[in-house]
Subunit: 211 residues, 2 copies
DNA sequence: CGTCGATGTTACCCGAGGTAACACCCTGGT
DNA sequence: ACCAGGGTGTTACCTCGGGTAACATCGACG
């Protein structure tokens, strides 16, 4: 049996274990599930990261392709956004344990499951939730929206701030503007670009077929 | 010397080590920095999580208080939002290593620093960035906005989706609506509530002072 | 003077990632 | 027929980090 099919079998086994025990599963456990011992895993995947990477690539290729397709769907912009959101949520809903692996490839503590936000950040999220609840009139959906938004805004600022801190693409005040603009609906308000899909190829002014 | 001051000293030492080596610092290293050995740390903090928790609480109390204050500032709503964003970014800018600890209390792999988004999610962020860049007219700030938004939206959906998956507060379609509304500027469009600050005490209709 | 509550130590356990050395079995070329 | 190579697998080990047990010390207080 050549390498590739065997690799697939091992990945299947790893999948089952992680499905069952979460992303903290040990290499021993995975090897046992596959009916073999550790060194074989290491021969195939180098180290634990390699295994995890292979596993996530396998699972995320589908989700990633789906999201990409959703982003390119020829819909009204709002509908397209909803379509992308729904695609993602449906994807993580379908396989929760795998999703954990997607978001937390590093083991971390095995007890607490589902911590996209670290405890300290969860406190911030709660503050935002409370502020929204007490300051803004959101009608009947008030509680749900406030909580979802509290989490969402916190996650947004976390991810964007992390990137900003790492690569410093601009001043702090500009970053503040960029995020505030996003929260302020600029995504909805901006005009469409003239359907040029290829990023490196600006629409040729002489091309007659795009009218 | 009673417990508390000693505790502070140990936390100071832990702080220095983490400042220097990042959140993956070992208990041995921390103990060495404090000039002592491991068991003392364990006596004071129970386990590694306890130490980290104490450390983060210490540092985040300031940031959390600042964010809370910013959220209560009597400003125009947009200005308040910007104020909160700026407060947070200034906080993480001031002490990057501590910020890492805030966002990634679990060690994880020591090589990669600054991964608010796991690799798989970073791919999604890039897809969004590309889509925004190629589909929406954002003027001169185009590149910056697209990238910041790509990260931000991904982080938002990650955090909100994680929460939704964990506690299932509503149907998937409703969650999609909640997030799309957030991205669509409903935060900006909604009306103010009549300055009732206490969450559990709805504004008394007979109170005359709130006019 | 004893003892309580801190301080501190050395030495160990355990589990997990990772590796070295060895053995087998099939296939194919000479 | 034979042996080399590339796959399969094994046992036994190393290292490092979190965590604990057992023991020694120092100062204060009734």
């Amino acid at each position: 049996m050549s390498r590739e099919p065997r690799r697939e079998q091992l990945l299947n086994a790893a999948d089952r274990v992680i499905q069952r025990e979460g992303p903290g599963a040990s290499m021993n456990a995975i090897a046992a599930e596959a009916g073999i011992t550790k060194p074989i895993l290491y021969r195939h995947f180098g180290d634990r990261n390699g295994l995890i990477r292979a596993l996530t690539e396998r699972h995320t290729s589908g989700l990633l392709a789906a999201v990409r397709a959703a982003l390119a769907e020829p819909l009204e912009r709002r509908d397209r956004v909803e379509h992308v959101l729904d695609t993602y949520l449906a994807g993580i809903e379908a396989r929760p344990q795998v999703y954990r692996l997607l978001t937390h490839p590093e083991p971390g503590d095995p007890s607490g499951a589902g911590n996209a936000l670290a405890p300290a950040l969860r406190q911030i999220a709660e503050e935002i939730t409370r502020a929204v609840q007490s300051q803004i009139d959101l009608g009947a959906d008030r509680d749900l929206l406030a909580e979802a938004w509290g989490r969402g805004i916190t996650g947004m600022v976390l991810a964007a701030g992390d990137w900003w801190l790492e690569s410093r693409p601009c001043s702090r005040t500009r970053m503040v503007q960029a995020l505030a603009d996003l929260l302020w609906g600029r995504l909805a308000a901006a005009a469409d670009l003239p359907t040029a899909v290829l990023p490196t190829a600006p629409a040729e002014p002489t091309a007659p077929d795009a009218g």
